[in-house]
Structure formats: structure tokens, C-alpha cells
Amino acid sequence: MLDARKSQVITAGDARAIVCDRPSVAGSVTQRACTFCGSRVVLYPIGDALHLVHGPVGCAAYTWDIRGALSSGMQLHRNSFNTDIRENEVIFGGEKKLARALRELIPIHKPKAAFVYATCLTGVIGDDVEAVCRGATAEFGIPVIPVQSEGFRGTKKHGYSAACAALAQLIDSGDTTGIGPFSVNILGDFNIAGEIWTIKSYLQRMGLEVVASMTGDGRVDDIRRAHGAKLNIVQCAGSMTSLAKMMQEKYGIPYVQVSFFGLEDCASALYEVAKHFADLAMLERTRALVREETAAVLPEMARLRKDLEGKVAALYVGGAFKAFSLVKALRQLGMRVAMAGTQTGAQQDYEHLKELCDADTILADDSNPLEMAAWLAARDVDLFIGGVKERPVAYKLGIGFCDHNHERKIGLAGFVGMAAFAREVHATVTSPIWKLVPRRQRPGCSNTEGTP
């Protein structure tokens, strides 16, 4: 491991605190992307907005239809719109092309709003994206919102804030009449494989009205009236807490940070929401819901757990909140967690992970393939959970893998989602192919290397 990275890796039992929240080391093969990536993933699911990437082809190409964020209506978000900056604009500036692109695309697609993402190149050639957006807003009568997402500005986290700032420009521009006292917004769920529909159905059964979902299955007009809701439910807290804080300050809307992944977390999320409204009937409905939903999945989970007991998992995810839920969910399945890493965790997140994990669990911030591969082999892991970039690290070593990122096609949120997660973990871990892979064909497995 690089000396420069040693402070970013600890074990849960370590007294010292982890070092995190800093730029990646050059040459380290970080799994992180850029600011633009952070903004793009947060805003992406808004299906009736035009998402225009102002930059060269790659930034747009690599973010075309890459998330499983479903929409119940318009699917504009699944297209990749790009100003496709060429040499001419690099020399003479890209503002004119941007204006012409908006003029071409808005009349064709008739979006409810447009987001214009600045990238490294358009940042460095000094395009005034804001001015072009202002002009387009006036010209087309829809909000055309600049997203300050130049990749070099910082990590993915900066991109989250830039996306929240863009959303903040939409909020408070719609009519809030008719919004009742039992109303919420959902922040930080992206409707991967329809997850927000599951969550919404729970909230509705509790008697709540969902004003806006940000941004899974999101609609511009809903977001415009989001300031009329009485509570913000923030999941995936890393990406959207800044927006929730802003809404609290500006509109006095309180927020709760929750996770809908795993039975435990999902139940406490719903209870926390119900508690907030302090309505006895709602609390009763919530209890009934949790009872019913849990009862529906527990027998199957108990059956699956039998085969999973004692198996070892590792995880590397974007945000720390997902890591918390996964550690708990895996424990519910009888599995131990040998390593938990995140791209963007903060100091207090890792402290919380320390409490959740076993003393010898490796905690890693901004890790890379070489480090992860060493730990997976050394801890003789049965299952690795991550995203597409982590998958080949596991697969090359003949280790099971489950995608818990944006590209998955299986909904994992809610009680039903936990059952789906358990089924996928089970199908993966119990596959008979693992006995054929090289690491299982050698006598014994070293258990000492790779421990930091």
C-alpha cells in the first residue's frame, strides 16, 4: 500500500481515527469519479427535465442511460444530450453552441426544465454557462438551470452540493395549495429498479402524502412545490443532506435521516417518520405495516440464512449510509463483514462504522483495486458488494459479487427489497461454481497478508 494512503485505512478496533475527506492520491487508481459525476447521479432521475452535458463527448457518453432509475412517465433522462465541444469551441468558446443546442433541443423535447452541466473543459475555457442559462430561461419560459459541476472542482461530494444548489433553484416556484399537514418529500432515493414506488407505497399506507421525490421518478412540477411539505425524509444522506438543511433554514421544514435498506433500518425509518407526526392512528398503521411486511419476508430469510451463516462479506460503496445499512443487513443474514470501505465517507461516518463492525473489520476510505484485492484474498471473503468498477476485482479472484450501485436491476429497498437482497446474496454465495475457482482448489488460504 502507498505510504500516502496508510492513514486512510484502519481496523474497526483501532484507537486512531481514519483520515478521509481529502483528494485522491495521483496514480492511486481511485474508484471515485468527479464532481460532474456527483451532480449527474443526483439529478439524473428527473425524467421530464432535459439534461444537457456541456462539454466534450466522453463526459456525456459515459453517463448515458447508466442508472436503473425508473420513471413512471417521461423518460427524457435516459437520453444523453451533449454540446459535443470540438476544437472550434475550445478556441472560440462554447457559449454560442450551448445556446444553439438549447434552442434546438427544448422545442423538440418540450421538457419542464433543463439542467446544463458544466464540465472540466467548458470550465477551463471560461464559458459563462449561467448567462446562457439565464437567456434560455427567458426565451423558453422554463427554468434552465446551470449545474456548477466542473470535474476538477473536487470530489463527488462537491457534485452533490452543486446538484442540491440546482434543485434549490427549482424549489419554491410552484403553488403549494392543497398540500395537507401529513405531507413529506423524499430526498436521496433515485428509484433504482422502482425502489421509490415501494417506499411511497409504505408512506401512503401510513397516511402520508408524498409531495416531491428527489430525485427518483422526480417531476419538475412536484419539486417546484416541495417547500410545501411538512417533513423531508433524507435517505442516502451523503448526497442530499445539504438540500434538507437549506430547506430547514429557509422554509422551516425539519428533516429525518433514514435508510430504507434492511429490515431493521426500514422499520426504524418508518417509525421515525410516524413519530415526527405524533399521530396515534398513523403510529398504529405503521406498526401494522411493519408487522405485516416483516412477517411476509421473515420465513424466507430464515431459510436463506441457514446457508449463509458464518460466510464472510466485504463491501465498498459510494456513501457511508449505504455501508451502515449493508453491515446490518448482512449481519441479519448471519454473515460477517471483513472489510467496509467508502468513496466519500466522513470522519463521523467511519466512527459509526467502527461501532457497527467487528474489531478486525478493515475500514478503508477511497480505496483502490490493489488494496481491495489483497484484503479480499487475505480474509478469504465469500461475497463482495460494490458497483461495476469493483466487480472485476471480485470476479477475477473467483469471489461472489452483488451490485448495490445504481446500475442494478433489482430493487433492494424496503422489506421486499431486503428479501430480494437475501435471495441474490444466497444465489450468489451458494453457486456451485466457486469450488472450481483456483483459490478454492489450493489447500488452505493464507489469513495473514493484507491486514493493515
Partner: protein
């Protein structure tokens, strides 16, 4: 959920390269092509100079196709590097790669950002090498994506490697084979053919092992395989360079011709009987031996299969989408078996596809260069071909128009086994032919009222 078309009324629009906006690009960026080429060099770690998003996205995209480890490093620019330059980032990155990967060589390519702020990348590398002898060798290629896509990035990288590594000297009994951005299976097949001919050859870049490797007990920091620098150094002494790619003008092989007088033989990708005949004849001539029996037999079986299947493809209309050289070659194959290529489209802008198609004897097809999938989709909707030959990115169009898609080229990331797709030679053509015929048969069977279980 009902099927919602991704773009409204595609018939409204005609593709026009002067359009200000690209919708659903048919290109990716130049450093991706560079990374692919660098993967064909032994002991090489690719390093992308610029902000780290580019490197991460390129990795993710390549992983989605090859499903193999793809360690690609970045110099991780910050806001201050864009102002003051990325020299110190580059120095740190190369030293860190040395410490983690112990590479024989670092393959450095540049992002749009690095190219725009006027980095003197070559100068920086020279200074680094002079200051610290422990650093690995760095091969550098400029890959601004605002000037070209992955196709240009790939070939420019091959040219850069040849220019920076190949040495002249006494001629050797060997040839260079520059196959282009083909699949690992294609490279493996070419290697087999070269072995059968007994022809010593530098087949470059060769990522057949690095991007299609076996299951391992230990993670290899750099996957085994690829052509070594020592071998590449001898490329300037080969008897000739055989270069595949219908639209290359003149292509990376010209570097060796200019610097070391290695004659360049330019051929189309060997897809189809006639194109494979030409390619294998050139190789056999270089080897000074007749075509091996095994290849002649493969050819015989392929022509026999053509006879068995010709009826089902004859006069059927096909649209071909992909990298320019692959698209042209596939259109030539389609014409050879009696199909009618109605559209040949690429995201690249070579300006030479029409001419290359004419040389393949393909007449009457509409040719789109520098096209996006929105524009291609609009033409497919209007032309209504019976079949699309293209990458996964053609799937939305295929689905919207209910036209079957045979997946070829890059990216194929909605199926497994992209690296195992064989396109080249009699064998690759055989595989393609069977799949084309069977796809058309399956389609008429599935949509027929009776659904016979025999032909």
C-alpha cells in the same frame, strides 16, 4: 410499463453534423482508445492525465464490455492543477505507479482538460526521467477528444508506441500485424493463423490475454500478456507491416515505413470470404508458404454454409453501425452474402467510409459519419431494414423499431462474452453468418402464425 420511445418522433430530424447538440452519441472519447491500445503492451499501466473522472468513467465503460480488471490511473487534477499545470501530479502519479504496480512502462494519454491548458506533457516526462532514474519508462500520446474519438485515440496510440519504441536495423524474418481495435477472440484467431503459417509476427496491440484472462488465485496488478517493449523495439526491422482497417489513411503502420523503411501493406479487416482471402494471401506471401490446409478447409466449410443459408439472407436489408473500419467490413460481408446494406453509420469522422465501401463493392448504401444514435435511429426508422448489425447502443433503436440486432464491435455491454465475439477470418465470418441467418430465421419464426419447428 408500456414502451415509451426515448426520443419523440425520430422522423422529424435528419442527421446533420453541424447540429449544435449530440443526442445519444455514437462515439466515446479518445483516451479510451488509448487505454485499449496500451492494454496490448506487456507490463503497461495506462495513466490518464487530467481530472480523475475521465479515467474512472473510461474504466467503468471498458469493464462493462470486457468484464475484466481495468486498472487505469489518473493524475487527479484539482482546481489548482488546472491553473498551475499538472506537473507535480504527473510526477506523483508515475512514482506511485512504480511503487504499486512496478510497471515496465506507463502509457500516458491526455484528457481534453490537460490538452486545453497547454500542458507540455512531453517536456514534463523528459524532465521526470532525467531527474529520477528509478521511474519507469513513460510512453506518451496526445488524445484530445475534441479532435477525435476512440478510433483516432487507438490508432494514434499505436503510432505513438511505434514511433517511440521501434528501432531500425538489420531486417528480420518477421512481419508486423496491426489488427486495429478488434476483440480478444479476433486477436487469438489471428495469432493461431500466424502460427499455422509459421510466420514470426509482432501482432500489436495484443490484449487477448490482458483483457480476457483466466480466473486467478491472486490478483495480478498488471494482467499477464501483451507485446513486450523488447519485441516492439524490433518492429522497425520487420519485412513488412500488414495493417487492417479500410478507412485508415495512412494509419499507424506508416510510422515504420517513414522511419525505418518497413513497407506497409494496407488491407481491409478480414471479414467475409474475399476480404479474408486477401488478408490470408498477404500473410502467406509474407511467410513464403501456401495457405495451410486447415485454413483452406475452414474456407471450404464457410462457402458450403453460405450455400446452405443464402436464401434466408438474400436481398434482406441491413443497417450497420460501429467503428468505421468494422462497419465498412461488415457491410462488405453483408453484400458478399447477398444482403443489401442500406445504411452504414459510424460516430467517427474519417471522411473515407464512402470510398472504402466502394472498394468493397458496396453500392447504394447511405453513409453516415460523425453520427449520433438519434440520427442513426431516425434513418433506421425511415429505411426499415430487416436487421441491424451494431453494438449494444443500437438496442434502443432496434427495440423501438422491432428490428432484430446482431451484436458486434464495441460496446457490447448488455450481454456477457463481448471479448469472445469473433469477427475475423473464415471462422469469424462463419460465426457471423450463422448468427445473422439464425437471427433472421428466429425473427420470422417468432412472428409467424404457425411457428414451424423445422426449416
Amino acid at each position: 410499463m408500456s414502451q415509451i420511445s426515448l426520443t419523440p418522433d425520430p422522423g422529424l430530424r435528419t442527421p446533420d453534423r453541424r447540429r449544435p447538440a449530440t443526442t445519444n452519441t455514437c462515439r466515446v472519447c479518445a483516451p479510451l482508445g488509448a487505454v485499449l491500445a496500451f492494454r496490448g503492451l506487456r507490463g503497461c499501466v495506462p495513466l490518464v492525465h487530467g481530472s480523475q473522472g475521465c479515467a474512472t468513467y473510461i474504466r467503468r465503460y471498458l469493464i462493462s464490455h470486457f468484464r475484466e480488471p481495468m486498472d487505469v490511473a489518473s493524475t487527479s487534477f484539482t482546481e489548482s492543477s488546472t491553473v498551475f499545470g499538472g506537473k507535480s501530479n504527473l510526477a506523483t502519479a508515475v512514482a506511485n505507479l512504480r511503487d504499486q504496480y512496478a510497471p515496465e512502462v506507463v502509457g500516458l494519454c491526455t484528457t481534453c482538460l490537460a490538452e486545453t491548458i497547454g500542458e507540455d506533457t512531453r517536456g514534463i516526462i523528459r524532465d521526470l526521467a532525467a531527474a529520477d532514474a528509478s521511474l519507469p519508462r513513460v510512453i506518451h500520446v496526445a488524445t484530445p477528444s475534441f479532435k477525435g474519438c476512440q478510433h483516432k485515440g487507438f490508432h494514434d496510440t499505436v503510432a505513438a508506441i511505434l514511433a517511440q519504441v521501434a528501432q531500425g536495423g538489420e531486417r528480420l524474418r518477421q512481419v508486423n500485424v496491426l489488427a486495429g481495435p478488434v476483440s480478444p477472440a479476433d486477436l487469438r484467431h489471428l495469432r493461431e493463423v500466424l502460427n499455422a503459417l509459421g510466420l514470426p509476427a509482432i501482432l500489436f496491440p495484443d490484449y487477448s490475454d490482458t483483457l480476457d484472462g483466466p480466473s486467478l488465485a491472486r490478483y495480478e496488478p498488471i494482467p499477464a500478456g501483451g507485446v513486450g517493449l523488447d519485441e516492439m523495439a524490433r518492429a522497425g526491422r520487420s519485412a513488412c507491416t500488414i495493417q487492417f482497417g479500410d478507412t485508415l489513411e495512412p494509419g499507424p503502420g506508416a510510422v515504420l515505413e517513414a522511419a525505418h523503411g518497413v513497407p506497409l501493406v494496407r488491407l481491409g479487416l478480414p471479414i467475409g470470404v474475399q476480404a479474408s482471402d486477401a488478408a490470408f494471401a498477404a500473410l502467406a506471401e509474407a511467410a513464403g508458404v501456401p495457405l495451410p490446409e486447415s485454413l483452406a478447409a475452414e474456407r471450404g466449410r464457410l462457402v458450403d454454409a453460405y450455400v446452405d443459408g443464402h436464401k434466408y439472407v438474400s436481398q434482406r436489408r441491413v443497417a450497420v453501425v460501429g467503428d468505421p473500419d468494422l462497419a465498412v467490413a461488415l457491410a462488405g460481408f453483408a453484400a458478399e452474402i447477398g444482403m443489401v446494406p442500406v445504411l452504414v453509420a459510424s460516430g467517427a469522422a474519417t471522411g473515407r467510409m464512402a470510398q472504402a465501401l466502394a472498394l468493397r463493392g458496396v453500392a447504394g448504401a447511405e453513409v453516415l459519419e460523425d453520427a449520433d444514435h438519434d440520427g442513426i435511429g431516425a434513418r433506421i426508422a425511415a429505411l426499415k431494414p430487416d436487421l441491424i448489425l451494431g453494438p449494444s447502443k443500437s438496442y434502443p433503436t432496434a427495440r423501438a423499431q422491432s428490428i432484430p440486432l446482431v451484436r458486434v464491435g464495441f460496446p457490447v455491454h448488455d450481454r456477457i462474452g463481448a471479448g469472445r465475439i469473433l469477427h475475423l477470418g473464415y471462422r469469424g465470418t462463419q460465426r457471423l453468418f450463422d448468427e445473422v441467418v439464425n437471427t433472421l430465421l428466429a425473427n420470422s419464426q417468432d412472428t409467424s402464425e404457425t411457428g414451424y419447428a423445422y426449416l
